[in-house]
């Protein structure tokens, strides 16, 4: 029965992959079909009024803005569904929380984590609001959301730096991460089996790097998108990066929410109290205790 479920999980993962990444190819093909024959724009070129590349990026950009909303939909709907499936079929991991409580997160770290969490969540939610502004009617509601998006984005950029430094050492890739990847972190089975991971497992590391390094990219591109202080062709590029990277971040953001709130019982309380219990650590962060 176990392999069967594993297969289902794999299929779901493949489906998700196809849905998100694979759609690129389809849309790229469509773009080529639609905008392959754009002529050069002669007028105004010599005045520098039109950027010489305008005809190259504009059509693509228009198409992109039309499609990006629909690219997010599979993620916003598909990923939670996938996890619902996981929850129902495999169920959450729970531990009896025996043995020593192991200090896991210091007070400052926890404070930073929650600060980042609040800012980050606001950024994600307001970002999605801006993306689906049409459905929400636009106007002052979205303008407020945009302001919050900017404020929290810059706030995140500030608060994230110490947290990044604190966690950086434990987030560096390790050889056993590959093994973790092959067993999918043990999440696709109901067995409680030791998984190879240090203080943070590969999943957490992925999230860390996407949220922080990706976040940096988001802040950087976001700054220019908000200030419009670059050439339009660069700005459209930045906007694409911003939105596509955002897609992945949203996907992993949902994953993170699921893992911490539902998939691993007690995960939430550990970030509140700062302690994890020995039995949990032995399973999920086996290498951590071995090292020390």
């Amino acid at each position: 029965m176990k392999p069967k479920f594993r297969a289902v999980g794999m299929q779901a993962a493949v489906a998700l992959f196809l849905l998100t990444a694979g759609s690129f190819v389809a849309y790229a093909e469509m773009l080529l079909r639609k905008f392959g024959s754009i002529s050069t724009v002669q007028a105004f070129k010599e005045f520098g009024v039109i950027s010489p590349q305008w005809h190259k990026y504009a059509g693509e950009f228009i198409a992109f803005t039309h499609k990006i909303g629909s690219w997010y939909l599979p993620v916003l709907v598909g990923v939670p569904l996938l996890f619902l499936l996981h929850y129902l079929v495999i169920g959450p991991k729970s531990f009896s929380h025996k043995g020593q409580p192991i200090p896991f997160y210091g007070a400052f770290t926890r404070f930073l984590h929650w600060a980042v969490a609040i800012l980050f969540s606001t950024v994600v939610v307001t970002g999605l609001m801006v993306l689906y502004a049409k459905a929400l009617g636009g106007g002052s509601l979205i303008l407020t959301a945009r302001t919050l998006h900017l404020l929290c984005g810059y706030g995140f950029a500030v608060v994230a730096i110490p947290l990044f430094l604190i966690w950086l050492k434990d987030m560096l890739p390790a050889p056993y991460d590959i093994k973790w990847l092959f067993m999918a972190g043990g999440y696709l089975s109901k067995d409680v089996k030791e998984v190879p991971a240090g203080k943070f497992n590969l999943g957490q590391k992925m999230w860390f790097w996407l949220a922080f390094a990706g976040g940096a990219v988001m802040v950087y591109t976001g700054y220019y998108i908000s200030s419009l202080s670059l050439q339009p062709e660069i700005l459209t590029g930045y906007l694409k990066i911003h939105l596509i990277l955002g897609l992945f971040i949203v996907a992993l953001f949902i994953t993170h929410l699921y893992m911490s709130l539902f998939a691993i019982k007690g995960s939430l309380s550990s970030m509140i109290s700062g302690y994890k219990w020995e039995d949990e650590v032995r399973v999920l962060h086996s290498r951590m205790l071995k090292k020390s």
Binding site: K34, F35, S37, I38, S39, V41, H55, A58, G59, I62, A63, H66
Partner: protein
């Protein structure tokens, strides 16, 4: 031309986003305004290439932007070309600068200075009252006081040092009448020490 194809998709999407929902003007009303603009364009054409085409506009058609306003014809105060300015005045306030497109010299044209003529009146940098400098600080005074002090000081200098101890700098920016009075004042004051910007 191939450039016709640029926005095929967007063109398509445009029909997706009906401009006829909540923002489009009443098509009937809008059409009427086109007719007006068409006529106005003809007037523009007239002033640039050929004889003037007079725009006929039925009185009941006009809906006024500034009800009850009147147009005052005046002349730009910047350079000597003498461009016409039409000032629209409502209740004693200069509300906007209209276009003097029937002026024989400028045909409505203005450079950036003339296009901002209204700012001469509305500028926030205008002096608001007479002032004198006391201990290095500007002090507001009344007109009465200002004129009394200035004139008595001038008279004092005239009595002590003679009329030629005062130099008058008149202006090329005032009206002929005022320029004439300035010259007359110097004569009555008793000096030829008067001059203005046009020293040629």
């Amino acid at each position: 031309m191939a450039s016709r194809k640029i926005f095929k998709t967007s063109g398509h999407s445009q029909t997706d986003r009906p401009s006829s929902t909540k923002f489009t003007l009443n098509p009937k009303l809008a059409r009427r305004s086109f007719m007006k603009i068409a006529a106005a364009t003809a007037a523009l054409a007239g002033m640039s290439v050929g004889p003037k085409v007079v725009r006929n506009l039925r009185a009941e058609e006009r809906k006024e932007a500034y009800p009850g306003s009147k147009i005052v014809r005046t002349v730009c105060t910047h350079c000597a070309v003498g461009c016409g300015v039409k000032a629209e005045v409502q209740n004693g306030v200069w509300v906007r600068q209209e276009v003097a497109s029937d002026h024989p010299i400028s045909r409505g044209g203005h450079c950036c200075k003339g296009a901002g003529a209204i700012d001469m009146v509305t500028s926030e940098k205008r002096l608001t009252s007479p002032m004198k400098r006391v201990n290095g600080k500007w002090q507001k005074i009344s007109w009465q006081q200002a004129l009394d002090e200035v004139c008595s000081k001038l008279m004092e200098i005239r009595d002590k040092d003679g009329p030629d101890a005062v130099h008058w700098n008149g202006s090329a920016k005032v009206s002929n009448e005022m320029a004439y009075l300035q010259r007359k004042l110097a004569a009555f004051w008793g000096t030829n020490n008067i001059d203005h910007q046009a020293r040629i």
